[in-house]
């Protein structure tokens, strides 16, 4: 992701406590953060809450920003904030996922049950979806995506593998196992 020429100076000002500079950071990266949040939480209002919380949290911890380009740093905060917000909102779903109920992905979808990719993404766990968003939307390699999500590399690989298998099953992709 390319930075606008003056953004490194804006970030430096924000790091020194300049709120108006941080306002420019929000204007520059707000849409990116909102899109990541929307892809993970699948809800407009919740994504907006996540976006707002992400920037407020970013401001409070701006001393932890090491790069001139805050893009990855903000994506990491947004990803974790999205997962927390989604878990709070969908606690019952999360319990059901852990218990293995309401998970029709154990068999291939029949032609009548095939879903489009959007609906199939809705059916992933939030952790699987975050992995997919980081790797396939943000184009991060597995190691960086794992660091963003705060999980081991092997866990990230496993989530990506299971997410792809489930997406193929739900969409009736011909290569589904």
């Amino acid at each position: 992701m390319l930075m606008q020429p003056a953004m490194d100076r804006v970030v430096a000002r924000a790091k020194s406590g300049d709120r108006e500079a941080f306002d420019e950071v929000v204007a520059r990266y707000g849409l990116q953060v909102l899109r990541v949040a929307r892809l993970i939480v699948r809800d407009d209002a919740l994504a907006e809450d996540v976006c707002q919380e992400t920037f407020i949290r970013a401001w409070r911890h701006i001393d932890t920003l090491r790069d001139d380009d805050p893009s990855h740093w903000l994506t990491r905060i947004a990803t974790r904030e999205s997962l927390s917000a989604y878990r709070r909102r969908h606690r019952f779903d999360a319990l059901a996922e852990r218990a293995g109920r309401f998970m029709p992905g154990s068999r291939p979808a029949s032609s009548e049950e095939r879903l489009d990719l959007g609906r199939a993404l809705d059916r992933l766990t939030s952790e699987q979806r975050a992995a997919v968003v980081l790797h396939y939307y943000e184009d991060l390699d597995v190691e960086t995506a794992a660091r963003m999500a705060g999980i081991p590399v092997d866990t990230m690989k496993s989530r990506l593998k299971s997410a792809l298998r489930r997406l193929r099953e739900l969409t009736g992709d011909e290569e589904a196992v």
């Binding site: 899109r35 907006e48 707002q52 919380e53 709070r88 909102r89 990719l117 997919v132 939307y137 792809l164």
Partner: protein
């Protein structure tokens, strides 16, 4: 792992993302308020701000009794209005979190008991949060999409609360308090957050569950100073929002 499927997935994600075309103004406004920065109200925000300003000026010259009982989002907290503390005439009553769409003017502040309209709707609490804003501390009770249940707000002159069912005394931080009662609600099964929060704010010092028994849910708020407040009801998701003006 099939290349075509991964390609299709990438394309789909980009397509989904591209449907989000701009950062809504209330989100950026909420961030500004959340970090305590200056507010830069745009044309859309100026109208409610101006209405709020006129309202508070009228309150100042003694017309509050005639203008009390303002509403938000179609619901009216009942009970007489009381003298108003000094709240900033904020353009956005939803700084944290932010609902989509335009915002009505903020409701008046009050220092007395308030009740919502009677309702038998069963509420399920999802989260409780507190945040410092520019000129006030905000407490938000968020419920599941089923809706905002009936509530009663009772300011009190101490931060000691009587726990429902057990009758035990609970001392919270602060020298004043607010009892928030939901007579047809519970947090069992839906609320996973802490039942005692110390947000470290200027005015809101502590929040704690003081009862969840037979579908009667109570929370106490320990306050340091004034227990005058402004109450708002927001939708999508349903939220009860209490703002306490900071000195």
């Amino acid at each position: 792992m099939t290349e075509p499927f991964e390609h299709k997935l990438r394309e789909h994600l980009r397509g989904e993302a591209s449907r989000v075309t701009r950062l809504p103004d209330p989100v950026a406004d909420g961030v500004r308020a959340g970090i305590g920065g200056r507010r830069f109200p745009g044309p859309r925000a100026l109208a409610p701000a101006a209405i709020a300003l006129v309202f508070f000026v009228l309150l100042g010259v003694g017309l509050s009794g005639k203008l009390g009982g303002n509403t938000l989002a179609g619901k009216t907290p009942v009970g007489a209005g009381a003298p108003s503390p000094s709240f900033p005439a904020t353009a956005s009553p939803s700084a944290l979190p932010s609902p989509p769409g335009s915002h009505p003017p903020p409701p008046p502040a009050r220092c007395d008991q308030a009740k919502s309209a009677a309702s038998s709707l069963a509420g399920h609490l999802v989260s409780v949060r507190a945040a410092g804003q520019s000129g006030f501390d905000r407490v938000v009770f968020e419920f599941t999409s089923a809706g905002l249940p009936e509530y009663q707000l009772t300011p009190q002159s101490s931060a000691t609360f009587t726990q429902d069912a057990s009758g035990r005394q609970v001392n919270m931080q602060g020298n004043a308090g607010m009892r928030v009662l939901f007579p047809h609600a519970t947090e069992q099964g839906t609320y996973t957050g802490p039942t005692d929060l110390k947000p470290g704010l200027p005015l809101v010092k502590e929040l704690g569950n003081i009862g969840d028994f037979e579908n009667v849910l109570s929370w106490g708020i320990g306050l340091n100073g004034s227990n005058c407040y402004r109450v708002s009801e927001l939708q999508s998701p349903p939220r009860l929002v209490l703002d306490f003006a900071t000195p």
